[in-house]
């Protein structure tokens, strides 16, 4: 019982990180149809900005300033580049952000160098808050958890309770009606894109110090974001949350399972030749294949439920 609770909690911690990372993209994609390949790059920028700012004026100011800068960067990217490409369609937008991904990665290397930078958890949050089954939990991890939950609550209530939120909600299911409402669509798009990027930036501020802030972090985190938004359902914040936690728990549980197919075969009283080619597959333990599970989930989802967990439209 203890073990299960503990695994679930670890999964939750990891899942909320994924949620912070992908909530921005689910908004952007749901509303604008722009699949921002560079989303994880904004996450990376968040971490680097936070590193730079916290070096001079501390972590808490960085927590506010860095996402604001990212929001501005995102808005500028939308205004001066994406808007231009918009007329060529969504694929062109995706292509542009693919190029942007390379540009940001190289710019980061140009400014901060290619080695990881020393972005650390602030001293006042670096203590053990409580322990569970002999494992201590750092106050900072709880701080991150609280912020990510708050982020969900605020976003969710903004989307469901305010006028602006309702327009965005409407746009998520029927992109064509926004313009008919007479709102300034380019402006709304710019703000949404900026907000989405800021959310990724905030995630970067919070996670950069535990994951390590280095130029390759965008590449290693990028694809998992797409898994979350597809599995959750396009444009569904709730879906993104559930999918994130699901992926978090699945990964965490899988790592703790040292069983392979061979164990099962032996358990039911059969055996497979040691020389057999099948050993390649059946000897792998679940914990070893854990990293491909999210992608497997993505593929299965696309085959059996293309609209995702909470989506209104097919992918």
């Amino acid at each position: 019982m203890d073990v299960i609770l503990f695994t679930l909690f670890n999964g939750l911690l990891y899942g909320m990180l994924l949620f912070m990372l992908s909530s921005g993209l689910t908004l952007i994609f749901g509303m604008m149809g722009v699949l921002n390949f560079a989303h994880a790059s904004f996450f990376m920028l968040g971490a680097y900005f936070a590193y730079q700012i916290s070096k001079y004026i501390g972590f808490i100011p960085a927590l506010f300033i860095a996402p604001l800068i990212i929001a501005f960067c995102g808005a500028m990217v939308e205004k001066y580049a994406l808007r231009r490409v918009h007329k060529f369609g969504h694929v062109a937008e995706l292509l542009f952000t693919f190029g942007l991904f390379y540009i940001i990665e190289e710019l980061v290397q140009m400014i901060w160098g290619k080695v990881p930078v020393g972005y650390h958890v602030p001293e006042y949050l670096d203590f053990t808050l409580f322990s569970m089954s002999g494992m201590g939990y750092q106050a900072y991890a709880m701080f991150t958890l609280v912020i990510s939950v708050a982020m969900f609550v605020v976003l969710f209530s903004v989307l469901t309770k305010t006028r602006a939120g309702l327009i965005i909600q409407a746009a998520l299911t029927h992109p064509e009606i926004v313009s008919s409402l007479g709102h300034n669509v380019p402006r709304v798009f710019m703000l949404v894109f900026g907000l989405g990027c800021a959310l990724a930036g905030l995630a970067g501020v919070l996670a950069g110090n535990t994951l390590g802030t280095e130029p390759s972090m965008a590449l290693s985190l990028g694809p998992i974001v797409f898994v979350v938004i597809v599995v959750g359902g396009l444009g569904s914040l709730k879906g993104a949350l559930v999918a994130s936690i699901l992926i978090g728990v699945v990964q965490t549980t899988a790592i703790s399972l040292d069983y392979s197919i061979n164990n099962f075969i032996e358990f039911i009283g059969l055996s497979v030749d040691v020389e057999s080619l099948w050993r390649i597959i059946i000897d792998l333990t679940i914990s070893q294949v854990a990293p491909i599970l999210p992608y497997l989930l993505l593929v299965l989802m696309l085959i059996f439920r293309p609209r995702g967990l909470y989506g209104n439209r097919d992918v």
Partner: protein, 420 residues
């Protein structure tokens, strides 16, 4: 239209090829193939810089063979295997007879295989591979080759050093093996299992894990919980990069008290990215050929270190580059020619000066042998690590030396040698 394109292409490429054609000169060239772009670029660039420094020292002291200079020619492989092969072909074209490389054993393997074919097919045009850091043991065992020399200890030797040191610490009773699931991690795992059984039967292996490598795992908490429940007091790991840093951070955050015995987890870049608190919460022990804060560090080496600091704004890290270049220069001098075959004969069995006694190139398998130092990261040191003017505020503190006899392992190498 296509023909026009081709014409244009022909014209441009002719111009570029001509401009690239190197003029014959009296320099002895060593090509270095390392990542100069992509995620591991900083590692490659630092190594190139180090090599350039040691070449310059030799040149300033009058060069070799009566005034010939050594020139380091860098090539970028961007950590892509095919590019390594491609760059190697460029090296062959430009008639450079010495190649050095170290980042990524898979790239070293490509170089060994490609040069093996080249040297067989082009007698008299042989190219020598000076391997400064690629540690896969098989290069000096079944894959050994007359034209390959390794100046770093191999994985087995490094693990042997770690295990020897572990036997001296009676508090180590339960060890957890955690390695990356690729060639290097697997050979680390195999060596650790074998050597622990041979040399430290009192230590129990309570966990043995292979993880997916190269930063694919973001969350190490589940592993930490596995380690916690196994009751391990020591983690023996070959992990490097984010796979090491995230593991160490996760143990620190969970307040898990263990000792880390590693090869690359405590390299300077990792030290900086983890920060002082994480780096010193648990002892992170690594094995190297020397380090600046060791009390036995000889004076002449201190002078070279100071020179390097002046040259590169960095604390010295890979002393093996120094003795590699010194021994290479000495071998050329002794051979009286820059021909790789003659130089190889001289390098076999050669001794050089090391930080802790002599270093020795074993003739049997072309594997360098030397005493190795074990140290852990500490903030309480005389000289802290400096990188590009940034002071990391910590460096290594010696735990002990392992004598070369303890890490001398038998080889399976059956080398074919050319006629002298």
């Amino acid at each position: 239209m296509l023909i026009k394109f081709i014409k244009l292409f022909l014209l441009i490429s002719t111009l570029v090829f001509y401009s690239m054609a190197s003029k014959a000169d009296e320099k002895i060239k060593i090509a270095i193939i390392e990542p100069m772009s992509g995620p591991l670029a900083s590692v490659g660039l630092d190594l190139i810089e180090g090599l350039e420094f040691f070449a310059e020292r030799i040149n300033n002291a009058g060069g070799v063979l009566g005034g010939k200079h050594i020139e380091i020619v860098p090539y970028d492989n961007a950590m892509v295997a095919e590019k390594t092969i491609q760059q190697l072909r460029k090296v062959i074209d430009e008639d450079i007879r010495y190649v050095t490389q170290g980042v990524g054993s898979n790239h070293a393997l490509n170089i060994i295989k490609t040069l093996g074919k080249h040297n067989k097919r082009n007698p008299g045009k042989e190219i020598m591979f000076l391997n400064h850091s690629a540690v896969t043991t098989s290069f000096t065992n079944e894959l050994c080759n007359f034209y390959h020399f390794r100046f770093d200890a191999n994985v087995d030797m490094k693990v042997a050093a770690l295990v020897s040191q572990m036997t001296l610490d009676p508090s180590i009773k339960k060890v957890y093996l955690l390695n990356q699931n690729y060639a290097y991690g697997q050979s680390f795992q195999a060596a650790a299992r074998r050597l622990l059984a041979e040399r430290a039967p009192q230590i129990e292996i309570v966990g043995d894990e292979l993880i997916v490598p190269f930063g694919k795992i973001l969350d190490f908490n589940p592993y930490v919980s596995k380690i916690t429940s196994s009751g391990a007091d020591t983690i023996l790991t070959g992990n490097w990069g984010p796979d090491a840093a995230r593991l160490i951070k996760a143990t620190t955050n969970s307040q898990l008290k263990v000792k880390f015995y590693t090869i690359y987890a405590g390299i300077p870049a990792a030290m900086n990215s983890m920060g002082a608190k994480v780096s010193t919460f648990n002892p992170i022990v690594q094995v190297t050929e020397s380090h600046e804060n060791d009390s036995t560090h000889p004076d002449w080496l201190k002078e070279i270190d100071a020179e390097y600091m002046e040259f590169a704004n960095k604390s010295p890290y890979a002393d093996r580059q120094r003795f590699m270049m010194e021994m290479f220069a000495a071998a050329v001098e002794q051979a009286g020619t820059a021909d790789p075959t003659q130089v190889a004969w001289e390098l076999e069995g050669m001794t050089g000066r090391g930080a802790h006694g002599d270093v020795f190139m074993r003739a049997e398998d072309h594997q360098m042998h030397f005493d190795m130092v074990l140290s852990h990261i500490s903030t309480n040191v005389e000289k802290t690590f400096i990188y590009n003017n940034e002071d990391y505020g910590m460096a290594y503190e010696t735990d002990g030396w392992v004598d070369v006899s303890d890490i001398t392992l038998p080889t399976t190498c059956k080398m074919k040698r050319p006629k002298r």
